[in-house]
Symmetry: C2
Amino acid sequence: MKDKLLILSGGMDSVTMLYHYQNEIALALSFNYGANHNAKELAFAALHCQQLGIAHVVIDLGFMAQHFKSSLLEGADAIPEADYDEENMKSTVVPFRNGIMLSIAAGLANSRGLKAVMIANHGGDHAIYPDCRQVFVSAMDEAVGAGTDNEVRIFAPYTNLCKSDIAKIGAGLGIDYSLTWSCYKGQEVHCGVCATCRERKQALADAGIEDTTVYQS
Amino acid sequence: MKDKLLILSGGMDSVTMLYHYQNEIALALSFNYGANHNAKELAFAALHCQQLGIAHVVIDLGFMAQHFKSSLLEGADAIPEADYDEENMKSTVVPFRNGIMLSIAAGLANSRGLKAVMIANHGGDHAIYPDCRQVFVSAMDEAVGAGTDNEVRIFAPYTNLCKSDIAKIGAGLGIDYSLTWSCYKGQEVHCGVCATCRERKQALADAGIEDTTVYQS
């Protein structure tokens, strides 16, 4: 039954979820929150919704770039270039970003009579981003249930998968990952050296997918 | 210690909390979400922050008026005029509004190094608005804690008071309630007949406060 709303960034994980659960998703919701790479991501988000015939809404959260503190909102030069680990990536945390997205998604789902909000958080992000962990998702699910008279709940089926597992699902579905965006720098092509590009390369390699992404270096 | 952020609408309840906890509040946060009465409320919110020397941020949530369904977002004629009870007021629910406001407030608090988000939900709203109840506030507090590595928590000290109790606190603090806004119609002066105006009159009467509000009827 098509009664779910998916939060879709245009990156590998949420694009995989869009194809994986396409028969259950009535609406995809993307956010422009002023991150360096939002424009790149959003173009791919729109493309996949069009290909699958799924309605797509984009909501602007310009206040984040104006009022929040994160290297993700400060231009390409602020993005760390080493491996994807806690010390390097901490500066890219946008405080309570997933909480904000899930809340808005819950309100929109409730307005449209949809029963679940899907989000593609995964295990690889747990160490760095507190709002990607199971304990957060469970608490947020309780809050959304309580705040909507249980008309909406959260469904996050990739919470305990790693990014390579997700790429394997995508390989099985025939997804063309060159039509997704990862790089936090958000320049013309993927930089190839930031932590998010490194993580992308690794996941595609682990899943045995030929990486046709154009990298700057 | 001034380490808290208050969500301030400019209505009786949050203005009371602003004065009541003025020594703990570092920042007041108001939202313009496209409701009929936002402009009226926001002017009073700004006025009280200025009087108390408390920093004030206003965030625009224009997407709500565009995408969400509620009579509160549909113009004055859509607002029910009878008593403040469940049947009449249901149409004024803005889906998961408090969840959205608390999430954004939590992210902003975390960005500024503040430790708590305060909200002035109260017992009189429990029947109608699921996102004003204790069970919602507790779940949301868990979610905010989990999503910020426990750097931010929620503090909602009026959750189990009624509006008359709050007005009594305000009377003790000498608050001039003519400088607050309640009417959901958001016209030049308070209409005096909508459910929110009726509730306002009752609370002021219960607290023994002379009601100097200008009402249209």
